[in-house]
């Protein structure tokens, strides 16, 4: 059993919250630069250049890329030979989020109750997903997610007879309906299979994948490429003001499912798709 101190987890989460919100991942920045050359709309090119400039300003001035510093979504992979000492794992994560959002001058966007809606003033609680894996390491990923794109995401329990064509249509329809609201160019995370709660989790995890890395499965890779082409034919463009770059990538994850089910989840993410990871 390897011991990991709760305090170290707290400090790590604090730093990851700040890092994720200040620094756009290099893969996203690189593809934005590539796409600025491919965009055909003049307004679209200007917008893409402003987005690139914005990421630079955020990095240099150490400030949030986007004011919506989001819900702190945290993925924890816990090696089965890890023992957390000096406090509970959840408290360490929760307090790390609190410290990160306060000390990093990040916006506090969480309300304590969906109806009463009073701000918790420290961006807690986060949403934490735990996976128990082999080994004696603790891997923590902080992936802040803003509401503009989250609100345009969707889940559909499809029929097996809807097949791959039905799935494609649902994904494209969901992107089309999001139009300018989700801050395109988008990264489209898709989860296919599993069940009612698992497909959205796959979709969210799909957003963590490096942007140029396609699915290992040949059929899924082909589907990702086809959907990206079709989405970029919709004309929505950067910020929905017209153009050929509506999405930067479509990342799909699949999972076995039930004989009667075909769940499909589309988690739309904006051009500020952020995440930062550390291994303890």
């Amino acid at each position: 059993m390897r011991e990991v101190k709760a305090d170290d987890i707290k400090k790590t989460v604090e730093l990851l919250c700040i890092e994720a919100n200040y620094n756009l991942p290099q893969d996203v920045l690189n593809i934005l630069k590539e796409k600025a050359y491919e965009e055909v709309s003049e307004t679209g090119i200007e917008i893409l250049n402003s987005i690139i400039e914005n990421a630079k300003i955020a990095k240099v001035k150490k400030m949030p890329i986007c004011q919506d510093t989001g819900v702190a979504v945290i993925f924890v992979e816990i090696g089965q030979d890890v023992h957390v000492v000096g406090g509970s794992l959840y408290d360490a994560i929760n307090n790390g989020v609190k410290d990160g959002y306060l000390n990093g001058y990040l916006r506090k966007s969480i309300v304590s109750d969906p109806f009463i809606r009073i701000n918790t003033n420290d961006n807690t609680p986060p949403i934490v997903h735990y996976d128990i894996v082999g080994g004696d390491k603790l891997k923590i990923t902080v992936a802040p997610k803003g509401a503009g794109s989250e609100n345009m995401s969707a889940l559909k329990m499809m029929k097996p007879s809807d097949g791959i064509e039905g799935v494609k249509k649902f994904i494209i329809d969901t992107v089309e309906a999001s139009g300018p609201n989700a801050c395109p160019p988008l990264i489209v995370g898709v989860g296919i299979g599993g069940n009612f709660e698992y497909a959205p989790l796959l979709a969210k995890k799909a957003l963590l994948r490096p942007i140029n890395q396609r699915n290992n499965d040949d059929d899924i890779r082909a589907l990702e490429e086809e959907l990206l082409l079709k989405i970029n034919s919709l004309g929505i463009g950067p910020q929905g003001l017209g153009g050929s770059i509506t999405a930067l990538a479509v990342n799909i994850e699949k999972y076995p499912t039930h004989i009667a089910m075909l769940p499909v989840a589309v988690n739309i993410s904006c051009h500020v798709t952020r995440h930062a990871t550390a291994i303890l």
């Binding site: 955020a58 400030m63 986007c66 004011q67 916006r107 701000n119 801050c183 463009g237 003001l241 153009g243």
Partner: protein
């Protein structure tokens, strides 16, 4: 080519703004988003006055990040405007002339914009750091308890926006997309 305008907006300025125009705004603007809109419209429904004179003013749909020491404001890009649609016609009726946000507006809002002569500008969503450089002063003027959702008065200089829906009902989201749509599937 940018058009430079100042706030508060005059009828003449509004008449000359056309969808697609890129505009630099200088002057005072007021921030308000979900919770502040709900509270403002509840005040009006109860016969109370708004915490600022809304006549001819511009509301920016934003919940800024806290300012670091030495900054006027933290990151401050636009939020999705559609969530304010339920409250907007009432504000247009009493003199609101401009809105800055991102994303679609519903028919009721566009109809009210045409009726009362107002403009919907959009700023680049997700460009909060860049936009913060155009805000030279920020102070909370109402609803302090709402935190990032409080009403701030921003003093802006050359704040870059695009006229997305003008007072004539021309809508850039509708007109531009068609030009780039490919019917290849």
């Amino acid at each position: 080519m940018y058009k430079k305008i100042n706030t508060p907006l005059t009828e003449e300025v509004i008449e000359n703004l056309k969808s697609g125009d890129t505009v630099l705004i200088t002057g005072r603007i007021f921030t308000a988003r979900d919770a502040a809109h709900k509270r403002m419209v509840e005040s009006l429904d109860n016969g109370q006055e708004l915490p600022f004179d809304i006549k001819n003013q511009v509301i920016y749909y934003v919940g800024p990040c806290p300012a670091k020491p030495g900054q006027a404001v933290g990151s401050c890009g636009p939020t999705t405007s559609g969530r304010m649609d339920a409250y907007t016609p009432k504000l247009l009726e009493i003199g609101l002339k401009g809105m800055i946000g991102k994303g679609y507006r519903n028919k009721e809002v566009v109809d009210a914009m045409m009726k009362y002569h107002a403009v919907y500008f959009t700023a680049i969503g997700g460009a909060g750091a860049l936009l913060s450089e155009r805000v030279i002063e920020s102070k909370v003027v109402a609803y302090d308890d709402l935190g990032p959702e409080a009403i701030h008065e921003f003093t802006v200089e050359d704040f870059p926006v695009i006229v997305t829906i003008d007072m004539y009902g021309n809508n850039l989201y509708e007109s531009e997309r068609e030009k780039y749509k490919k019917a290849n599937f």
